[in-house]
């Protein structure tokens, strides 16, 4: 189990320390669900699969993307704020707020949990 955890953590090393454990938990959860897919077939199983596959996946993915976004945005915001503490700040040569907005929005909203990989 620990070996499996480590393998998944290393596969998710492209993500930050905040995002990676969330992705790993999601992957492990869906792997467990996949592992039992042939063991239970009835109406209740269909309902459960629907709930878990759709609702849980959507909310979890939105949250993980939200974490990815807030982490990047706050890191950029702090970097920009630190620039404002320079004695030259406010003289007109610093980054404009429009640029900050563009920077903060850059590279966001990537879908981290790939739906088809973890279909239950």
């Amino acid at each position: 189990m620990e070996e499996k955890d480590n393998k998944q953590h290393s596969e998710n090393s492209e993500f930050s320390n905040l995002v990676s454990p969330l992705v790993t938990e999601g992957q492990q959860f869906y792997q467990t669900l996949n592992g039992v897919k042939d063991d239970w077939h009835d109406k209740a199983a269909d309902n459960f699969r629907h709930e878990v596959s759709d609702h849980l996946f959507r909310v979890t993915s939105e949250y993980i993307n939200g974490v990815d976004e807030i982490e990047q945005r706050l890191n950029i915001a702090v970097e920009e704020a630190k620039k404002l503490t320079s004695w030259k700040a406010g003289s007109g040569g610093w980054l404009s707020i429009t640029d900050i907005g563009m920077l903060v929005d850059r590279g966001l909203s990537r879908l981290i949990m790939k739906r088809d990989d973890y279909r239950f």
Binding site: A44, R73, L74, A77, V104
Partner: protein, 173 residues
């Protein structure tokens, strides 16, 4: 059990319940780490804003002081070598005022920029908390309800298995 029900392994419910338990428990810890990160960054930004406010106050004090020195200079009475009254030379005081005005303007601009940046951050944090609330709703309400349903199914399957065992036992007798 309902018509068409099929459970190959009754342990399936136990595994699913455990998977949900682990998912909920570990993700609550993960959410806490993210909350700590957001709190830490917001604090860092708050401290930078306080520094910029302090700089503006200092720049304003400096400007006031320079303006006072300039006013005192202009009130000075000076005479040339021939005893004629002349305008006092206040170029250094004037320069000091210009420099202080520039510094005050820079400090004010920097604080305005910081406030604008904080408005972005507030919006971003609000967006994050909306997603966090949905996720916590899932962890604290939705998944425990799913677990309760799985428990119910597990009990039904167990009852069904017990009934089968009893029936088989009677047949053997």
């Amino acid at each position: 059990m309902s018509e068409g029900a099929f459970v190959r392994n009754k342990e399936v419910f136990k595994r699913l319940i455990e998977a949900i338990d682990s998912f909920v428990c570990r993700n609550k810890e993960n959410v806490q780490k993210v909350d700590d990160f957001v709190f830490e960054k917001e604090n860092e930004l708050k401290k930078i804003k306080e520094l910029l406010e302090q700089r503006l106050v200092e720049a304003q004090h400096k400007l006031q002081s320079c303006l006072m020195e300039q006013a005192i200079c202009h009130q000075r009475i000076e005479y040339d070598d021939e005893g004629n009254r002349i305008k006092p030379n206040c170029s250094s005081e004037n320069n000091a005022v210009m420099k202080a005005q520039r510094q005050e303007k820079f400090a004010r601009n920097a604080l305005n920029e910081m406030n604008e940046l904080l408005r972005y951050v507030e919006k971003f944090v609000r967006e994050y908390y909306h997603k966090r609330d949905n996720f916590m709703q899932l962890l604290e309400n939705k998944l425990p309800a799913d677990q309760a349903n799985l428990n119910k199914h597990s009990e039904i399957v167990q009852q069904y298995v017990n009934t089968l065992i009893r029936k088989n036992g009677r047949k053997r007798q």
